[in-house]
Assembly symmetry: D2
Homo-oligomer: 323 residues x 4
């Protein structure tokens, strides 16, 4: 393999730049040329492809976002679009790809490889941590810390005013972000898609707390929670307990930004190196991940179709700690 391409796709995540840096430097270390493909599959189709050298990635390890930018591409979902993308890669003599992204990114990459034979190794870049094949995804640790810092600030206000705060954090269909935020933020209640906690039980817990003279409450809600989002739940709680001073905060997009944490920079670096070395060693349609501190490559198919279950002991921890 003489020349590879690297791109970021899907929602941006802190640490993507650290991963791009590792990809570029590892390729150069092994004598492989490396090109950056801008805006994911969209830029691949349009030929937004630039040569990267070691200075292209200097001083980016600490930056949020992605210097390669990210975008969705409807056109790549068509055969015609993928043909156009392939033609561009051929034109640029790119023989393999490192794809930094999540489920959607790898689904596209797998299909692309099947149709056109371009090998791709993936790097799990998403704050949601919902990918099978790695204990943690790049960006997850930073997102949790960002959400937790927001919660620390909100607790200042909640305590000062004897209020119940409902804080919504990101995480799509999982409680991966919500649970450490709840445990680390000293929340009384956490609502995540993985459990079946009813609105009634939330109201009951709050009532019990009030009887015990607890004056401020913190409820962390995962955005994918089935009982509805934080605003919806808070409204219903307010109806049930009108004397409760209820407030809602949606932490929102700040969870995607900011300088990556140390853990995310390290993980992104490990995986970036592994992705390039996997590609050089002939791997294709696999994602590089770290499981139990060991490097593993998992077929895209498994990453996409298998569910990574949340550690059930965390729910028990919440029960004990919110005593």
């Amino acid at each position: 393999m003489k020349r590879i391409g690297v791109f970021t796709s899907g929602g941006d995540a802190p640490g993507m730049n650290a991963c791009v840096r590792a990809v570029v430097r590892t390729a150069l270390y092994h004598g492989v040329e490396v090109y950056g493909i801008m805006r994911g599959y969209s830029g691949m189709i349009k030929g937004e492809i630039v040569r990267l050298d070691t200075t292209s990635v200097a001083n980016i390890v600490q930056r949020g976002g992605t210097i390669l930018k990210s975008a969705r591409s409807q056109r790549f979902q068509t055969k015609e679009g993928r043909q156009a993308a392939f033609d561009q890669l051929v034109n640029h003599k790119i023989e393999g790809l490192v794809a930094i992204g999540g489920n959607g990114t790898f689904t596209g990459a797998e299909l692309f490889e099947r149709e056109f034979g371009i090998p791709t190794v993936g790097a799990p870049g998403t704050i949601d941590n919902d990918l099978f094949g790695t204990d943690y995804t790049i960006g997850y640790d930073t997102a949790v810390n960002t959400a937790l810092e927001a919660i620390d600030k909100i607790r200042d206000t909640a305590d000062s005013h004897d209020r119940a705060f409902f804080v919504e954090v990101m995480g799509r269909d999982s409680g991966y972000i919500a649970i450490p935020c709840a445990i680390g933020g000293g929340a009384e209640i956490v609502l995540v898609p993985e459990t079946q906690q009813s609105l009634e039980s939330v109201i009951e817990q709050l009532q019990i707390g009030r009887k015990r003279q607890k004056s401020s409450f913190l409820v962390v809600v995962a955005e994918g929670e089935e009982e509805g989002n934080a605003t919806h739940i808070a409204t219903q709680v307010k109806e049930a307990i009108p004397e409760l001073d209820v407030r809602v905060t949606v932490v929102g997009h700040i969870q995607r930004g900011g300088a990556p944490s140390a853990a995310d920079r390290l993980l992104a670096s490990q995986i970036g190196i592994a992705a390039v070395e996997g590609l050089i060693n002939g791997m294709r349609s696999v994602m590089a991940g770290i499981v139990d501190r060991k490097l593993v490559y998992t077929p895209f198919h498994d990453c996409i179709t298998r569910k990574k279950p949340i550690n059930q002991s965390f729910m028990r921890m919440m029960e004990i700690l919110s005593t």
Copy 2:
């Protein structure tokens, strides 16, 4: 004056604890006893009043929120409520008050002084910076920095995805928070109540930017903006420019929390000292503030009724810097 009381009232603000600390230590320094009144006027009525000494306020200078807590009191708005509050102060032999809060706090204190003769000196504690009689209010600098950090993170994502972000910051009826956030955050547009920028002109500016190949935009919206809140404005912009990828973030309650900035701790300390010394020197119904780096006492009446205009040069700065 042998014994004074101190309380915090209205929305909490970072630096309130630093101010409480200064009040307590200054009183003790001058041989005056000091009592903390919990939950503002509400606790005054109920007699939630505790003796404070120098260790009561140790290690709080850096804490967000307020150790004295804050609450609204409907009852204090009645003559009966104020009579009950006065009776409690008499019972506790409290001869003067330091009130840390905003407009509503001082309105209550002025009336209370007129009816019952209890002298109060105020300290401007609110993130909104909308009080006449001081260049900056306690908590304002921290709130701006918190909002700006959020904007820095959002810009990572905006740049990575070529998006237009509408970010709503606090500030009630003024652009005091929004304007430094927009200038410091490198925003293209700022919408504040003080100007009459129409929705049409916003759309026009975005259209011009797009023609100049600008791909990401940041619009900072003050919560009191007349054209509506960030969500409302973003929705209308999306209708006018459907191809724009529009997102909204409401920074929200995190702006009230967190460790106070250096400037807020210094200001809170200066004002806390000044409030106690003013009280000792016979002042009443005035607010201690800093104007042009000098200590001034302004009658509550002026603080409440006079408007502190925003520096018009800031709007010109936005025009130049968003070039």
Copy 3:
């Protein structure tokens, strides 16, 4: 077991308070009374022992330092001192202990148990991460992030001035803190006790970099590095390359403080729960730790005597990434 004691000992670490909170709430959850022993073995000897309930540990999960304080005790190293400590525990009807600390703490606890039969379960609380029996110690993740934030700031200045910065981070006899700081901080060189990198090779690397027109350098030095501390090494480098603008920064004690990271709060909570439940289940002279995301109890003897080797792949990562 009806009543247990908990104490912190050795250097303080962020997350110790989160661990204390978990210990207290887990004990209460299981119907066990819990007492806080102030200042480690020193307070145990003096009987500085206080009852803790659920509110004693409210609002501390996010605080740096330790509410139980920490101290060294010469007297506990004598039989007489340990006898005095035992007498105090008997007086207070304390039947088991949770010790939060490091090597020295556990050495004392093991001896104490052998002599007096008081069972102790340990929690690894040290920023150094040098304890066998757990992948990460409580406080380590926060310390790395703090050091890395300092390095990010220093790089701003290094880049602006074309300088070589030698930054010394903590970590006693290991490179656990230095290595992720170097990888995550984009350092050119890392000096850790585990490798035998000579001063000559450092100078050579810098010379090569200079020939390649690199203008600023970052060298991360672990405090236990055999070639000497950062100041010593920098002085010798300056002698060898006089035209290099060399500066030194010792990150120092800030690495021990600050709000714990999300990962540290979670780890501290997991381990705090596990320590109490281990104690209740009859364990003694073991440390609770997390290895490969699973809870394990390791005999104190192994924690103290066995060395946890640093991941050798990290040194290879440095070589690739500093290309």
Copy 4:
């Protein structure tokens, strides 16, 4: 004036980039071309001069350091060096300069203008805040906040261990950084060059505190303190009070880096605009500053020779608050 140059010189300061951005955009706004001179006077002599446009300064408002880099130039202190610099400016058709820096920068600029007639307007860019002609210098607010965050972390450790910490902060010959750090950090003692506090009085204060059962102390030392640096003072204190557990931390170069605070970004923007508009309006050898929230231009001669006294009331505040 058709074309101007901008450069940064002396120690870097957070906000320098925000100032460069304002200079560039203001020049373009007024139809004036703008060139960046790299590495201060050094790059001016060598002709390291690059055209800047609006995108050159996009996304830098939040960055520490300076994209124009900074360096000292021995050669500019000679007539020959200044002649070479002048020749380069003539070659590049640069008719005026904006110099962002401190005392040394302005001394050079004034001489340069006298000899060669090139008008310069200065912007006060230094963390030391020791320039006459402006209430605050660009970078000062950020540096104070950075030092204060370090102090907050150190206090965690000081409190946990009952220690006396001597923390040295920057500030050359003044206490501008030390004083707000001491007040905002809840320090017991501050040592600054402006006062004559003897070592004996420090020891006495510590002894009194110890008698009052105070167990931890924080002493903030300005680097230019006449009694010596923090290490020197701590050593002598330890000799006088051997039973005190004494530690030293030098906050160091991190004070120069990091994202600028909101206040610094705003100040840098105001001054950058004012500098360019002053230059266009025919000013020369003056520094733009903000005094009592109003824009003022002060002759370089005054900036260099006049001393900006520290607010004496701060020393009284320390006395009251450390009660």
